[in-house]
């Protein structure tokens, strides 16, 4: 992948939320994304994994500028979009689209499928006449595996998998270069998940897209991603090529997370010794001072509790752990 050009470069990105309740209480800040840096290359799928509350969705939403970052830069196609606001956002969003988790909530129930897919074309002024738009909608429906006569139907008439296809068609409507997929398959059944994953892969090959693929289903992420970033409590603890991360995880959290995946094979599943993590994720309002993982890590030392590890390059990977510092 290294010969490819970087399409998205995120540096030291921080997204904080103020959750202070009441006027006179102490200010409380949730550091949902804290100092995250990574690159996504052209034609690549970058998988983002982590448990709920680790900040992966917030990170994805900050990148498409649904949330305002606190600090840091988001360089997309050579331009820093972190501070872009208002009208200028529209032109950038033409190149970056999003597919949402819940195919029921993300489609307007009172619009037909045709109207839903046409809307971004109208906003971005892509075609001049309605006929042209309509022709493109039919094309898109075919690409995502729906029928042209579905154009007049409403979302309620479709199953979850079909709705997710409508969501994909809508994202493709403006010919984007980059799509943020926020858990696009987690609401779908197993046999339908594979349909959508294969569709996303085919479209990527055909149109030369890059994806940021956010998911908590680790097996599917490995399947679709070229590179993977593992997040924990707002931090990216490890990042590298998918196969390396899965077969030789470096960070103790990655090791434990991967070991927790239920393996769909009775012999391995029943014999495998798992590393079962004790405890739970600490509250992001009051995270540990040192390494975010130090409260659950079996290899934690005193240093981990006091000093936050900086991300360092180890072979093909970047890992934030004191164990790998020389």
């Amino acid at each position: 992948m290294s010969e490819n050009k970087v399409i998205l470069s995120v540096k030291n990105l921080k997204t904080y939320f103020d959750v202070t309740k009441g006027l006179f209480t102490k200010k409380q800040i949730v550091k949902a994304v804290d100092d995250v840096s990574f690159d996504v290359y052209e034609n690549e799928t970058f998988g983002l994994v982590g448990e709920s509350g680790c900040g992966k969705t917030t990170l994805g939403r900050t990148i498409v500028k649904i949330y305002e970052p606190e600090s840091g830069s988001i360089e997309f196609q050579g331009k820093d979009i972190a501070k872009v606001k208002g009208k200028d956002l529209i032109s950038f969003r033409k190149d970056m689209q999003m597919i949402f988790q819940d195919p029921y909530a993300s489609l307007n129930p009172r619009m037909t499928v045709g109207e839903i897919i046409k809307e971004p074309m109208i906003i971005h002024n892509i075609y001049n006449t309605d006929e042209e738009r309509e022709r493109r909608v039919v094309e898109l429906l075919k690409i995502v595996g729906l029928k042209p006569d579905h154009i007049r139907r409403y979302p309620a008439e479709f199953s979850g998998g079909q709705r997710q296809r409508v969501g994909i068609a809508r994202a493709l409507a403006v010919n984007p270069k980059f799509i943020v997929c926020d858990e696009p398959i987690s609401a779908l059944d197993v046999s339908i998940q594979a349909q959508v994953v294969n569709l996303l892969k085919d479209i990527q090959k055909e149109m030369g897209l890059s994806y940021l693929f956010i998911a908590h289903d680790l097996s599917m992420v490995k399947h679709i991603s070229d590179r993977i970033g593992v997040m924990y409590l707002g931090h990216m603890v490890e990042c590298g090529p998918a196969n390396d991360v899965y077969h030789r995880p470096l960070h103790p959290y990655t090791t434990a997370l991967l070991s927790a995946i239920p393996i769909p094979d009775p012999d391995t599943a029943k014999s495998k010794q798992r590393i079962v993590l004790g405890g739970e994720v600490p509250s992001p309002i009051n995270p540990p001072k040192g390494c975010p993982f130090c409260t659950r890590c079996t290899k934690a030392t005193e240093r981990c509790q006091n000093e936050r590890p900086e991300p360092i390059q180890v072979g093909t990977r970047i890992v934030a752990c004191h164990l790998y510092e020389r």
Binding site: Q162, L218, S259
Partner: protein, 333 residues
């Protein structure tokens, strides 16, 4: 004799649009101490089948046909003269000899009652323990399911517990009266991966310790591979294949089972596996297909599959599959 035996169970839901045939002629057995996994996609009828057995169907749900024997007693709704008798009888069973673990621990637990009240309730209702004895047992159960400092935690409310801890409480409640059968409906679906691993480990330990049978309803093949001795695959309201874990994973016979296994990726595999999705979507159970429920999505479908329901073929002891491909009488066209 099997602990639970279900024969020809049929459950329908009366709706304005007509009768939804949620469970269509299902038969299976569960032996004592065994863990049976029931795998199926949403709408395959796996949850409604269990609710039919434990008598928790929604108002519009009716068990139309079938016989359910549990622990040597016939507990089919048709055995009872009226609905009230049946409900009273099942209330005696539930939380006593039969226990349940539900998917979402927050909706299962009552938010305005202390954990203690919720834990001792099944014991006070079903046994003649005193409140003190029940409290002792509750603390013991909390220790068993791995809740630190139970004396303090028992006085707290559900909102003070995290998702994983709440699910542990739900498991403790289920185990209160040493049930013979525990039915777990997607017990780990609402949990994160590392917490899921903790809870699965706990269920596995409890299973090895006690002689309770477990029925595990899930859509996650990874979960059944880890926990279950036998697996039933449901599709369109029917059990299409049932067998040991090894039969199902290494020697699947039904095209749907084969298809499911081709849809999932194993993160342990080195080489890239191409996922082969099953085209189409599940049948509408308002008007289920006349023949095999899988016929519209099956790549090996023959003419006979369309009009005739396939009979169950026994491959080996315990491994059964309902598919015309295994039936020598079928005309292969």
């Amino acid at each position: 004799m099997a602990l639970l035996e279900v024969n020809n169970l049929e459950t329908v839901f009366k709706t304005d649009a007509g009768e939804v045939q949620a469970v269509r002629n299902v038969s299976f057995k569960v032996e004592q101490g065994e863990a049976l996994g029931i795998v199926g996609e949403s709408g395959s009828g796996k949850s409604q089948m269990m609710y039919s057995i434990i008598g928790l169907l929604a108002e519009n749900g009716v068990v139309k046909n079938g016989q359910i024997t549990f622990d040597g007693k016939d507990i089919s709704p048709s055995q009872f003269t009226n609905k009230k008798d049946y409900d009273n009888f099942m209330r005696e069973c539930r939380g006593n000899t039969m226990a349940m673990i539900f998917q979402d621990p927050m909706t299962f637990l009552n938010p305005v009652l202390k954990i203690e009240t919720q834990l001792v309730e099944p014991m006070l209702n079903h046994t003649d323990m005193t409140r003190e004895q029940a409290r002792e047992r509750a603390l013991e159960l909390m220790r068993k399911v791995g809740i630190p400092s139970p004396e303090k935690r028992i006085t707290q409310y559900p909102f003070e517990f995290s998702g994983g801890m709440r699910q542990r409480i739900v498991i403790a409640i289920a185990l209160a009266n040493n049930p013979k059968l525990v039915i777990a409906d997607e017990p780990t679906t609402a949990l994160d991966v590392t917490i899921q691993a903790q809870v699965l480990e706990l269920i596995d330990d409890l299973k090895n310790e006690s002689n309770s049978a477990i029925i595990m309803i899930t859509h996650d093949l990874g979960v059944v591979a880890k926990l279950c001795d036998r697996i039933a695959i449901m599709y369109g309201g029917k059990i299409v294949e049932i067998g040991s874990d090894k039969d199902i994973f290494y020697n699947p016979k039904h095209p749907y089972t084969e298809g499911l296994l081709r849809c999932i990726s194993n993160p342990e595999d080195d080489e890239e596996k191409t996922l082969t999705p099953i085209a189409g979507s599940p049948p509408d159970l308002l008007n289920p297909p006349k023949g095999c429920p899988f016929v519209d999505r099956c790549t090996k479908a023959m003419r006979v599959c369309k009009d005739h329901v396939p009979e169950v073929t026994t491959i080996n002891e315990g491994h059964q599959c309902a598919c015309w491909l295994l039936d020598s009488r079928a005309v292969r066209k």
